[in-house]
Symmetry: C2
Subunit: 162 residues, 2 copies
């Protein structure tokens, strides 16, 4: 089984797949009499013919290494995952090769990072590494399934080391 | 100085002002081979002539009791606050009396609750009670200030007890 090594999540490495939302650097604006920094409009949202909605996801925390059997994508919209606890989580993506997933990548966030998958990006399902596994998800509400799954012939092992 | 007593945040008490997003009750849908519950589309979003955006707010945690000198509202859009740590925070709102704020209310969330202010709802600025004071905010991106402030002639004291 091929191993995918988990890398730290960075803006540069994640750029082909989506946006990293964090408070690196200076805020775009100080508000509330200087008590609050606003890091403004950090996700490329795209809901095509639908509208934005906010849902909560409660996912079972996973142990490493994990076996990756499939990835999925949402052809009609972007999808943002905001952790509701100050814990890192695992983000799995794949490059797009024609119309199937190519090279798989795995990233671990730092505490305080959220991510947004661009519309149509192949990704693994939500994989918290710590309880409570609670996330707010901003994605497209609209007609249609907006879901494609790809099951790998040979699963991958996703791990911190070989 | 009049004291506003802090109440626990409940769906019923908060209904005039907005939505409580939490995972009380059964999920609307089980996804990811049963590993994840989806609590679907829980916020009434309204961005009028603008679009949805996701920003991060880092706010200084506040101590109680606190002095409330002003409330504000966004006439052109709803505003959702998602805590990025598993900590309660304080939510201050006011009823709308004509075009000025009426009775003030203060609520403390439970861990794992987010809130959405309906468009045009008078509210206090973001008041975390614990570090890191980090929130994802879903609100309207668009032209115009989209902000009205009301400064009280006499400030309020917001506290857990008289």
């Amino acid at each position: 089984m091929k191993t995918i090594l988990i890398q730290p999540l960075t803006v540069e490495a994640f750029a082909p797949f989506g946006d990293v939302l964090d408070i690196t650097g200076a805020p775009d604006k100080l508000i509330n009499q200087g008590l609050c920094g606003r890091y403004h409009d950090r996700a490329t949202l795209d809901f095509s013919d639908g509208r934005a909605g906010i849902s909560l996801f409660e996912a079972k925390p996973r142990d490493l290494p994990l076996t990756l059997e499939m990835v999925e994508r949402h052809p009609d919209g972007s999808q943002t995952f905001v952790p509701m606890s100050f814990d890192p989580f695992l983000v799995i993506t794949a490059e797009n090769l024609g119309d199937t997933p190519g090279q798989v990548h795995a990233f671990e966030t730092r505490s305080g990072q959220a991510i947004n998958f661009h519309r149509g990006t192949w990704h693994g399902v939500l994989t918290p590494l710590h309880a409570p596994g609670l996330f707010a998800v901003v994605d497209r509400i609209g007609p249609g399934a907006n879901l494609e799954e790809h099951w790998f012939d040979t699963p991958y092992r996703v791990a911190r080391d070989v």
